[in-house]
């Protein structure tokens, strides 16, 4: 011990931390992809939606949205959907299932530090989200001629803020769902109602009643924030700061709920 300097010890600790997180990410990924039906459903849903909607209605134009093509609206829309599905829905359901089946309690009682678990779950979610986003961009580009984001920097920032915020909302959601059976249905209903009201399938007019209503929730803001870096309409900034801020505020609020309410094990009956 004596001939090891403090710097060396700190360095080896850092290496241990990195390899521990990498180790855990590997198994989180394995666990996600080995469940083929779950993985196909999570990743495939957004792809199938984009392909079908793009094929059926993609070429019509939205007069009240700068006359852009509907498929130009759908590509960022389903990118947003994919990110939210990977972080919010998947995370909420998997945390409830893991908590109720006792798997979280086991991880809690293992020497794996909580921070390593959180980082590993976040990286895992990001990987799943990025895979979807890439698939959607490729289908949009080569299937429907939708150009890639013209401001990649803004696009990446939007994705990262979105993943972090919706992941926090996913964790918060998991804390209010009482049991495994309710996890899928409850999360899906909340998610799909918000998606519908936020105009994912049918774009909303800017000041319609529905738009005003859905502006209180993060989903519409996130769809708009993802669209901005594509710059379909001239003179619109790729940085939708206002929308991003509202998404981030929801994320921060969800984080507070998650920190207060998170449990490692099922509630004692």
């Amino acid at each position: 011990m004596s001939d090891r300097t403090t710097a060396e010890v700190a360095k080896s600790r850092r290496l241990n931390a990195v390899s521990l997180v990498a180790h855990m990410v590997r198994y989180e990924q394995l666990s996600f992809w080995v469940n083929r039906i779950g993985a196909a459903f999570t990743v495939g849903f957004s792809v199938v939606f984009l392909v079908l909607l793009g094929a059926s209605a993609g070429n019509s134009r939205i007069s009240y949205l700068g006359n852009i093509k509907l498929v130009d609206y759908y590509v960022p829309g389903f990118v947003a959907y994919g990110v939210m599905a990977a972080s919010f829905t998947t995370l909420a359901v998997s945390l409830v299932v893991r908590r109720e089946t006792g798997l979280l309690k086991r991880l809690c009682l293992s020497p794996l530090p909580t921070w390593a678990l959180i980082i590993a779950i976040f990286i895992n979610t990001t990987i799943v989200a990025v895979v979807q986003v890439l698939l959607l961009l490729i289908i949009g580009r080569f299937g429907y001629g939708v150009h890639l984001p013209t401001s990649p920097a803004a696009f990446v920032v939007v994705l990262l803020i979105g993943i972090a915020s919706f992941a926090a909302m996913g964790v918060a959601m998991s804390t209010v769902i009482p049991n495994q059976e309710a996890a899928g249905p409850v999360t899906s209903i909340v998610f799909f109602v918000l998606l519908f009201l936020s105009g994912l399938w049918f774009p909303l007019k800017a000041h319609s009643g529905l738009a005003t209503f859905s502006n209180y929730f993060p989903v519409r803001h996130f769809i708009l924030a993802v669209s901005a870096p594509f710059e379909f309409q001239d003179g619109v900034s790729p940085w939708a700061w206002h929308d991003l801020l509202i998404v981030a505020i929801w994320g921060a609020g969800a984080m507070l709920i998650a920190l207060r309410r998170f449990r490692w094990s099922p509630r004692r009956s």
Binding site: L20, L30, S31, N35, G102, K105, R106, L109, P111, P113
Partner: protein
Amino acid sequence: MTAVSVKGLRKAFGPVHALDDVSFEVEPGQVFALLGPNGAGKTTAIEILEGFTSRDAGTVQVLGIDPGERDQQRWLRTRLGIVLQELAVEPFFTVRQVLDRNAGFYPSPRPVDEVIELVGLDEKADAKIKTLSGGQQRRLDVGLGIVGNPELLFLDEPTTGLDPAARRTTWDLIRTLSVEGTTVLLSSHYMDEVEALAQNVAVLARGRIVATGPPSSLGGRDHGRVTIRFTLPDDVTPAELPVIPSTLDGATVGIATDDEVAVLARVLNWALEDGVELHGLSVTRTTLEDIYLDLTRTAADEPGSNVQ
């Protein structure tokens, strides 16, 4: 240094006193058992030792560390093996994958192949966990408990729900680990299990320790206690007996005694003189089960004992 030291431990969940002034010690290298019926507080006690549940009062030392102290918890857990009561299955992993994953959490894990062999899952090493039988999953659970090469292993009801053959396999495994020098703290509600495995036992009933010691000496058993049992006819009440019964179950009388010849003589003389028939008369050396039932019943009947 003792492996586990518990003094004056208390824990309440609302009005229920799960643990009430519990004290015991576990020596290194020992197999120690917490014995008690369901709801006696065994799991609560173990979860406090693991640092999963907080305590209301008392001092607890596990491998010289207070498990309630957050900054020591992770380090402590690298030295502990923990097998929980509930089975929890990672549905999509194979046996080897989940062992490999958990081995990565520890500084000096036991080789995964060695663990697989120890718990007897060689043929199932690459099978999905959800395809294992209950007994095999339980053994995998024990495998996950020992993959970190623990100094101290907690086993919460390791054989509950197993068939007799699987129980024996698990017992052999616990003995092997004990011989290797691992300290084991197990909980059980099977008397024969405690008798077969443990050097020391604490009997827990309604959150209190009602007896401690080696299984052979429990409840005065080494004094050669004997139980005399018989059933009285309908027209005879237990009050007419020449000796005071220790237990009464309807008309069935149980008399526990150290001096069975004298007591038996009094009972038989009385029965012959009064012409009373004693149905199903038996004389048995007290089993650990008798003592256990006796100890836990006394605690349950005590006035002012815990709220249910």
